[in-house]
């Protein structure tokens, strides 16, 4: 098992290295001439040359790439072209905000999706199954920005039961920074009211963000359970006296979940990209809003940092998913060379 985990980690490294190179290429291609962006429209050729020299943009491209990789590996992501502040400073505050939102959405997707999928499988082709199918197809089809606005209209403006935007009320402000997760930091600081307030603020964005993932987790769980129920080992277990409910809900769920778990890695990618829209609508101070600002202001340093950080988090999540899979199905750790 330890060897399996080590191998998964080592396999993730080349992908991360590739990501670093890719960000380099992208940041040199996407904004056009970075020097021109930096200097502004009214810059003279002399000013442009000066900026090129300052940022090393006049060096040979390979040398620039080398410098880029070295900087990233030492954790130096440079300073925002827009504000001049080190981008890492911004990321440290914004990454936890996004993670708090995506983890909450992920927990909802998994925590509701698996039982719903199971329920649908137990009620195969019955009314509950159809209802869940309709709702989950709906969950996939409805655009999250539309849903987010509907939720805001209903819950925040019409009924005024949930907050409209932000991570907490202005009256409470932010808890002292430890992890950057408000739910955790408020508990560390012993601020119970702030904890509840943060939780309150988390509900609408997390529910909006979780729906597409919930739908696909429910569908994968349903088909996984139905498929596993066809297996010979289920027939054998029935002959041994397992009841129908025990078979579907407990015995076979572990087999079914192996498929569902592979979805979690993909789900995380979907959540991060979904977070861009959801954060913008709910005014959530996370990486998504930061990325939007960076794109609008052509702040390629900030964009690069966001891409890298998201890539690293994605790689870590996928390693965790691989480990989780090996824990559920012992064959996984042995099958891979």
């Amino acid at each position: 098992m330890a060897r399996y985990i080590l191998r998964r980690v080592l396999l993730a490294l080349p992908a991360l290295f590739g990501l670093i190179l890719l960000t380099f290429v992208l940041t040199r291609v996407i904004p056009g001439d970075p020097a021109a962006t930096l200097a502004g429209d009214a810059a003279t050729p002399a000013q442009l040359a000066e900026i090129r020299a300052r940022y090393g943009l006049d060096r040979p491209i390979l040398e620039q790439a080398f410098v880029h990789v070295r900087q990233v590996l030492t954790g130096d992501l440079g300073s925002s072209i827009f504000s001049g502040r080190p981008v890492m400073e911004e990321i440290v505050f914004r990454l936890p905000a996004t993670l708090e939102l995506t983890f909450a959405a992920m927990l909802l997707s998994i925590g509701l999706g698996i039982p719903l999928g199971l329920l649908a499988a137990l009620n195969h082709n019955g009314p509950v199954d159809h209802l869940i199918r309709i709702v989950s197809v709906g969950g996939l089809a409805v655009a999250s920005f539309w849903l987010a606005i509907m939720f805001q209209l209903l819950f925040a403006m019409e009924w005024d039961v949930l907050p409209l935007r932000g991570r907490s009320d202005l009256a409470y402000g932010a808890p002292p920074f430890h992890t950057g997760f408000y739910l955790i930091d408020s508990l560390i600081a012993g601020q119970g009211a702030l904890f509840l307030d943060s939780l309150w603020h988390l509900i609408l964005p997390a529910v909006t963000l979780c729906l597409p993932g919930l739908a696909s987790i429910a569908r994968f769980t349903r088909s996984g359970v139905l498929e596993a129920l066809q297996k010979d080992y289920v027939l054998y277990a029935r002959a041994a006296g397992y009841g129908r409910f025990h078979l579907a809900a407990i015995y076979v769920l572990r087999n079914a979940i192996t498929v569902t778990v592979t979805q979690i890695g993909l789900l995380f990618g979907a959540l991060i990209s979904g977070a861009v829209a959801v954060e913008a609508i709910f005014d959530w101070p996370g990486l998504g809003t930061y990325a939007v600002q960076a794109i609008l202001s052509a702040d390629y340093k900030a964009l690069l940092a966001v891409t890298l950080v998201v890539g690293v988090v994605y790689a870590v999540i996928n390693v965790l998913v691989d480990v989780l899979q090996a824990l559920i199905d012992p064959r996984v750790a042995e099958d891979i060379r």
Partner: protein, 335 residues
């Protein structure tokens, strides 16, 4: 009775109701339909106490369906319009079959597919024992380790902690035989338990099954399409064609001198395996399109009008034999 293992065998009969002369399992006029398909028709069979009965027939003739009826695990959509299954005199078809689970051990066809890959082999067997065997978990463990020794699985203690994929096919079938015996059954049913294994392993597993059932005084209901296997394991045999029993009797006698036209033709073309009657006209009917009367009549050289009217009754031939053909004594026209 010689018992090699350390624990006493539980008496297989729960009450005075069952006596030595009564068969342990008695299937009476059993018909099974799955949707429109009439899979089994009026099957009547007995498994003698401490005896072995083999069911032989081509694939698709309903052998597994018969065992699933006995085990109470017929597929969804199956109906039983007719018949009874008596286990120790108790009707297990209409009563809750769960009461006899544990008293009927099951050795499945495919040891590779019959254990759940994500649970430890030992835990899967303990779960069955927890449901049906007396005693504590420690008793179960001691007993299972004894059984794993009896089925000659190396290092039983370690085997309990392994996952199914860490065993070979033969080892898995040994595990499943141990599992089938774990709750002190009176009857073991086995569905082609060696088809998925290579020839050498096949022979070992058959020997083991035979030895364990004899040692423990168990009854065995054994399904196969292989006459060699049949002869090695079973005292008595029933030949099945398209869901009907066509012949029934002591194995040697039936194999040496088959009476039913189907059995005669089958053994003449395939002396070792029940596979389709190669050169003989016609094919096995589809389960949804069974001919009326004797299901073999469209292919039978002895057939006449009466054969299409009603299924022929089993005619006793003496010496424990019977055949479902009133014309069995006739010679084939072209033979």
């Amino acid at each position: 009775m010689a018992i090699s293992s350390g624990w006493p065998i539980q008496p297989s009969a729960p009450s005075g109701a069952a006596t030595i002369g009564q068969p342990v399992l008695s299937i009476e006029n059993l018909s099974v339909h799955i949707g429109p398909a009439r899979i089994l028709q009026e099957v009547t069979l007995q498994v003698p106490r401490a005896g072995t009965l083999g069911i032989v027939g081509e694939s698709g003739c309903g052998k597994s369906t018969l065992l699933r009826a006995v085990l109470g695990i017929l597929p969804g959509g199956a109906t039983v319009p007719k018949g009874a299954i008596l286990f120790d005199g108790e009707d297990i078809l209409t009563d809750c079959a769960a009461t006899v689970r544990g008293r009927i051990g099951y050795v499945p066809q495919d040891p590779y597919l019959s254990l759940n890959p994500v649970f430890r082999a030992g835990d899967q067997i303990f779960e069955v024992m927890r449901r049906h065997a007396k005693g504590s978990r420690a008793d179960h463990k001691a007993k299972l380790i004894e059984l794993l020794r009896a089925v000659q699985l190396p290092d039983p203690e370690a085997a309990l902690r392994k996952y199914p994929h860490q065993f070979s096919g033969g080892q898995r079938q040994r595990l499943l035989i141990a599992a089938a015996l774990a709750c002190d059954p009176a009857l073991v049913v086995a569905d082609e338990p060696t088809t998925a294994l290579d020839v050498t392993t096949q022979r070992e597993i058959l020997g083991l099954l035979r030895q364990l059932t004899v040692e423990r005084g168990l009854s065995l209901l054994f399904v196969t399409h292989d006459f060699g296997v049949l002869a090695a394991v079973c005292d008595r045999v029933a030949v099945l064609y398209a869901g009907q029993v066509v012949e029934h009797g002591p194995t040697r006698a039936v194999l040496d001198d088959p009476q039913h036209p189907y059995a005669r033709m089958l053994l003449a073309c395939h002396p070792d395996r029940a596979t389709d009657l190669g050169g003989i006209p016609g094919t096995v009917p589809a389960a949804t399109a069974q001919p009326p009367g004797c299901r073999f009549h469209p292919r039978c050289p002895l057939a006449r009008a009466a054969c299409a009217e009603a299924p022929p009754p089993m005619l006793p031939l003496g010496a424990g034999r019977s055949v479902a053909c009133p014309f069995h004594a006739e010679a084939f026209a072209r033979a």
